[in-house]
Each structure stands twice: as C-alpha cells, then as structure tokens.
Amino acid sequence: MTATSYASAVKPGRDGFGSLLRAEWTKFRTVRGWLIAALAVAGLTAVGPIWLAGTAINSTELCTRYQCEVQGQAVATGPSGAAVTDQFTFVHQPIAASGSITVRVTSFHGSSVPSLPPGLHPAPTTEPWAKAGLIITASTTPGSAYAAVMLTGGHGVRMQYDYTHDLAGNELVSAPAEIQWLRLTRSGNTITGYESVNARQWTTIGTAVLAGLPPAAQAGMFVTSPAFSEPIGSGDDTAGGPTRATATFSQLSLRGGVPGRSWIATGLREATASLQPVHGIKVRRRSASGDSVTQTAGSFTVTGSGDIAPFEPLVDPVRFAFIGTLFGLITVIALGAVFITAEYRRALIRTTVAASPRRGRILLAKAIVVAAVTFVAALIGAAIAFPVVEHKLYDQGWKPPVWHVLALTSGTGLRIVLGTAAIAAGAAVLGLAAGAAFRRSAAAVTAVIGGVIVPLILAQLLPLSPAQWLLRITPAAAFSLQASVQRYPQVSYICAPYHECYPLAPWTGFAVLTAWAVVALFGAVYLLRRRDV
C-alpha cells in the first residue's frame, strides 16, 4: 500500500491585504465604545470651534485692547477690496496714457531707529523691506492701484504692483550700495519695470496690467520704510516702532508728462495738509515723523516712512476658534492607541498574529482603518463647524477689509477643513504606533499628547526663536493647516506662536506630522516583529 500525501479538502483562506483590512474594519465597527468615540470626534470637532467663535469679542473692541492696527499704520482698502498699508513719501507729476519715467538712485539708507529698551540690539541700518524707487499710481488716495520698481534694503531690486504682487529683479545688481537706474514705462493700462546699472542696457523686471488706470495717473519717486519690531524675553514681549529711510535720486526724466508742471511732494498719510514751498518744489508735508523732500542741483533727497504692502493682521480668528478641535484630537489619539492596546489587553493580538503572520501588514491595515475613520469623523465635524465659525465671527465684526470671509469651498476654507481631518488622521496613526510600541494606552496617549499638543503650550512660554523651532520640528507643525490669514513674503512680521502664527507653510507643516507618523509606524512594526505577543 502506497502512502499518499494528505491534502485538505478545505480551500485555503485568502491571505490578501483586502481581507486584513476588512478584518480590522470589522473589529473597529463591532466595538460599541469605539463607534461612540468616533461620533464624539465628529461632535467635539464641530462643537469646540463653534463655542470658541461664539466667545470671541467684537473685533473693534479687540483693536483697542490689543492694538490690532499694529505698527501704527493706517489701513486702506486696496483695489481687490482687501486691507492694505499705503504710506510713503511721494514726489510726483501727472503722466499721460503713454510715457515713461527714469531715475538714478545714488544713495539709499535707513535712518533714525526708534527708541528701544537698553540692551536691545539696534535695528539694521536699513530695514530689509525699506523701499526707494519709481511708482505710477492711479491717484494719491491710499489704496490706489499702482505699479513700482524699487531698491529695497535687503531684497535687491523689485517690481511690485497692486500690493500683493512682488517680482524679483536681477540679483547681480541687487546691492543697494550700487548705483542703480530704474525705469517705468506706461502704455495705457500696461506698466513695465526696468533696471540698469549704466542707463544703456536695460533689463525688464516685469509687466503689470492695472485695471482702470485713469488717463492722468501720477508718476514719480517714492521712499518708504516699514516699522521694525523685535521680540524680547518670552511670550509676546516685543519692542520696536516706525523706521525711516532716505534716498537720493538724480537724473530724473519724465516723458508723457504735462509741460510746465512742477514736482509735487506728498506724504500720503495726511493728504489734506497744507502746501508749503521748500527748496523750489511744492511740498505737502505731514506733521508726524520727519518725512521730507529736498531738491539740490537736479537731485532729490527723499525721506519716508511706512509701507506699500498688503495689510497683515496679527490675530488669526479662525485658527483661534479651531483650537477647539483639540478636544476632538485628544479623543482621536486615545482611539488610535486603544485600537491596538485593547488587543494586548484581551490577548486578541495572538489571534490576529496567528491569522496573519506578516505583522507589518497588520499594523498597516490598522493604521489605514483608524486613519480613515478619524479622517471622516473630523472632516464631518470641521465641515459643520467652519461655516458656523465664519458666520459668528462676521457677526462680531471680523469682516473685510481686514479679515476675509472665507467660504467653505474657497481654497483656504477647504484647506482648513481638510487639514483638520488630515491632522486627526496623522494623530490617530501616531496614537496607534505609540500604542503598539508601549502596549499600554496610558503611556501611548501621554506620549502622543506630549508630542502633538504640549509643544503648543511650551511655544507660548519660550522666547520667539526656540518657540518657532519647536513648532517646526514637532508634529504640532501641522496646525499651520488651520491658519486663515494669508502671509506675504514681502511683508515683515513676527510670526509669534502667541498670535497663533506657525513658522512653516501649511502643507509643509503637515509633511512634518506625516514624517513623524511614518517613522513611528515603522518603529512600531519593528518592535511588533521583534517581540513575542
């Protein structure tokens, strides 16, 4: 009798990743407490921000309390309806629909640093975004459409227009010390900016099309220098104040001007001040800050203070309200941890590992399930919260021009809502990985909350640079996804955690969280493979 090998009549079970996912999903949905926790995530993510938005004070009251018109700069409404800063000393003439203006900047430097507490480093002699150059503007009313070419204190030659647009010039001739020629040409609504080192070879920087530029626009030289501030000590202690810059212009030439017109100087801050003749030119003088224009032998020396830039409020009311999502986030972290520690507690992990011996895939399947569930729960909560938060803030005076009303479907709105869900998914994976590593929920939850939420608290306490550093390298960097105030690189500001500003760009911050989650998951897989269950 020959021995025949035995083969089971039972078909082998499928060992696909799909079945593993299904098994983990079944585990999740059949535990009542976890389903309740998922519902709690959605509920808390919605209720937290709505409650906080409801407690926010009226924005005008905030302005008196916290001086939200920071840096003493007045706010005007720009061509797009958004708030802008528009203060500069301007020496100008009308320019026709076709013409050009050319000038040579022979010197440019900052002057007069504000009084600071003793021991503080003085401001750089020229503010990096101090500006001196040529501008063509629709009118001298603050907030008018404009295009300008300029030397800056620290960013080389730039062409800027309509406040939000900023183009870099040729880097080779960027040093302010170099003698620099600048030119703007106008052809209808189109304005082109040029730079040159010798007035023979001209390089185009860029072209701006300004809608509705009147036939008689104003063209001329301008100088301005933004306020300086420097953090001191810890928290929100800052020192600073307005700065001034002075530039000397020579060999000014204007084509397309009105014959016989003289140059008028205007400080835009006080357009109503009286005209006074100074050194042969008419000066419309401001009283406050020593801005001045002098003319000697064909050259103009202009001193100015202020900025031509988008206005950036310090406070971010939406991010403030969305701090309320942290209640949901703590639930998410606990849920992620328990999804694996419960298996250790009940020894279910042995069955799980016996059923699917490839342990890395178990953890991956768990991560996908818990990330997907928490993503959806937080997404629902945030999508409910966002429009209500916007509505409540609007009712309390948080509205244009300084604050934008964001629709849920706008780019920023979608980023905040999807970002809140993405933060939840990342935190859930971190919780899961910590749970697998520690096998105890108390340790796992504490570690993840320590990594994700505690940096936010420490950042409030530490001085600016370590605080920013903390918010760059910890998973808390991802909260930048909830920022609602748009930041422009051409505006100097202090990105203070105290004002809910995050140093990294939104999706860069999320990449930091993702990197932490991936590394933690790999570490957990390594430990799960090495250890007995």
Partner: protein, 256 residues
Amino acid sequence: MGAVHAEWTKLRTVASSGWLALAIVALTVLVSGITSDVVRCPGSCSADPARLSLAGVMLGQAAVIGLAVLLVTAEYSTGMMKVTLTATPRREAVLAAKSAVLTAVVLVAGTVAVAGSLLAGRLLLPGNGFDVAHHFATLSLLHGATVRAAAGSVLYLVLVGLLSLGAATALRDSAAATAVVLGLVYVLPLIGDVTLSPVWQHRIERWTPMDAGLAIQATRNLSRLPIGPWPGLGVLAVWAAAAMLAGWLVLRLRDA
C-alpha cells in the same frame, strides 16, 4: 497599613513605575533647563525667573498623570482589582492606600525634579540677563517667594497626581482617563492663552487646574496675577478633591 504596604509592593514590582518616576524628574529638569538656557531678558522684561526655571513642571506632570492613572487602570485591565478588593474589602482603604503611595512617590520624584530645575535656573539665568544689574536676585531657597514656588511646585505635582488617580478610579480605563486629564490640564490653558475673549481668558486663568495651580510658581508682580499663589493651588486642590470624590463614589457603588 497593610493596604499601603500592598500598594507599595505592587507599584515597586512593575517596571513602568520606575521609568515613570524617572520620567517625572528627567522631563521636568530637561524642559526647565532648556527654558532657562534660551530665555533672554535684555534690559527690562516682565518674566518671572522662578517661574521660568520651573517651566518643566508643565511637561513633568504628564509623567505624574501616567503614573497615577496606571496605578488604578492597570489593575482593572488585568482583573487584579478583584484580588485587591478581596484582600482589602474596605474600598476607602484601597483608595487611601493608593493615594498615600502615589503621594510619597511624587513627593520624592517631584522634590528631586524641582531641585534640579532650580539649580539649572540658578546657574543659567544670570547669564541671560536675569542678574543683579537688572534687579533680579539670584534664585535661592533663602528667599521666601522662591521657597513657596519650589515647595508649591512639588505640591502641584502631588495634587495633579491625586486628580488623575480620582479620574482613573472613576473612569477605570487608562485611555479615557489619560485623555480626560490631559485635556483638562493642557487644552484648557491653551484656549486661555490664545482666546479672543478677555472674559474667558480670565475665567480659564482663574479656574482651570494648570493655570490656577501654577500660580504658586509666581514670585513677582503678585498683585497683577489673575489668582494669587495659594488660592490658585487651592483651586487645583478642589479639582483633585472633586476627582477623588467621584472616584470614591464609583469605587463604592460599582462592581469591580
């Protein structure tokens, strides 16, 4: 007394207790030291050197919370609680013994942590502008307010531990208890820090466990604090007492 001895034996023979006690000291001293190292006071500033040098208590308390929660929930998760209650049928005695053991451990670890933090502050702060020339006295335990800040910080850690112990006894689940206590301790102050509502800011600074409790660390400008040092610690004590009461009621009324 037997109950206390039993609790001490249980705590001592679990590896995680030693690590957590070490974490209390390490996290506190590390964060305090880093804070003392990076702060600057050029000329004048509103910062409080004692408070800065004890900043690590904010992170060290997370380890206290972990220790306190595990003291209770580890027994529920393994079924050990039934044995404990069989051996000591008077449930108050079990809770009291656990509180006593926790208090002793946190007192020791907290004292080491606070002493290390103050030492780091004493060495590092004068080099960062917190010196006699700027009207800051060197941190010293001969100074009454500094003693209050130091001893108060140890008491703060003990009270946070008791708050967590009470919450864990009431909730019986380590994930839930840890999440609730950490949310209470960390998220509420964060809202107070950034809130756009002065009313809520004031409420949070006066009545939440961490903000009120850490008022004990203040040594300067006491009149401008939202709540005084001892009343602040008192608020935390009320939170801890309420949590212990809830824990006691649940322990008494529910089956283990």
